[in-house]
Amino acid sequence: GSPACASCGLPAMEKDAEQKMMIEIAKQHLLEKLHLKERPNITQTVPKVALLTALRKLHSGRVRQDGTLELENSLPTKDQGYEIVSFADISDSDSGDKASLSLTFQFLQERGKSIQVLQSSLWIYAKLSEDPHRSSRLLARVFLSADEETSDSNRTLVIEKMIEVKESNWHTFPITHTLQTFLDGGQRRLRLEVSCEEGERNLCSFNGSLTKANQPFMVAQVRLRDNHSKHLIRKR
């Protein structure tokens, strides 16, 4: 172990005791820096393949041969920033006469902390159109659903855009403003509905037949907003 600490008065410790103490200090240090009260308990595991797909989309990491992740530093910013990937709770819902993909995201904001959304996008995997006579482009729409009901009257169109359906592929839908408005409202459940209607089919619906790698998710780049500085400004 180490000799007694001349400046801080810690007594000499056995090597094991010192190792244990250092590990506890490291744990507390990491949790404090990540603004976590305790280590998260992961009860449901996200399929690794979906995880790596999402992280690859984050453009913030290279996947090594052995499947582990090599991280790259983001651009240094004054405030600590976060990039978040959130996998939705998924269900297919009937809105009116067409089925649409219903995604629910859960958020937990610490009281007194507000979040600034720098950018956010929804990643949806659209399947290949099976009808060769159809146009290769399709109108995809994302709605914000006010609450559990999915009747048309409670939905607000967030974004619509034409997507290519000649092959199955990923498509992104920018929802920065939607997410910012949602977080500013202090709500906890964000419910989005995605419809890519081709006749009776929704090419964006996610069901068991697709591999877990194509699970829809949201990516957000956020920063903790410092309300205190706003007050300072007012004083000036």
Binding site: T43, L55, N73
Partner: protein, 114 residues
């Protein structure tokens, strides 16, 4: 900057690495695989004050002025980090979202005397 050996006398950096798998934290920390919580330890006798590398700090300047003027200071110089770098982390938060962040000043690269 010196790297501590088994016998620590003068200010140096002690390497300390924790593998998340060893403490079952790899369940929620996706990357990296561990944390270099290096730290500084050892003595800073007066003739080492301000070495290496942080003479530009306010404290070192004051100490040096006092020394030059032969005023015997009662305070000792301290062994502190002189270089640090961020730690990039990807982890699950309590909502099972995946978060990536760069935590500034998490890894001590070198140590010196104030």
């Amino acid at each position: 900057s010196l790297r501590c050996g088994d016998e620590v006398t003068v200010c140096c950096k002690r390497d300390f690495y924790i593998k998340f798998k060893d403490i079952q934290w790899d369940e929620w920390i996706i990357a990296p695989e561990g944390y270099h919580m290096n730290y500084c330890m050892g003595q800073c006798p007066q003739h080492l004050a301000g070495s290496p590398g942080i003479a530009s700090s306010f404290h070192a300047t004051v100490f040096n002025q006092l020394k030059v003027n032969g005023i015997n200071t009662a305070t000792a110089s301290c062994c502190i980090p002189t270089e640090r770098r961020p730690l990039s982390m990807v982890y699950f938060n309590s909502q099972h979202s995946i978060v990536k962040t760069d935590v500034p000043d998490m890894i001590v690269e070198s140590c010196g005397c104030t």
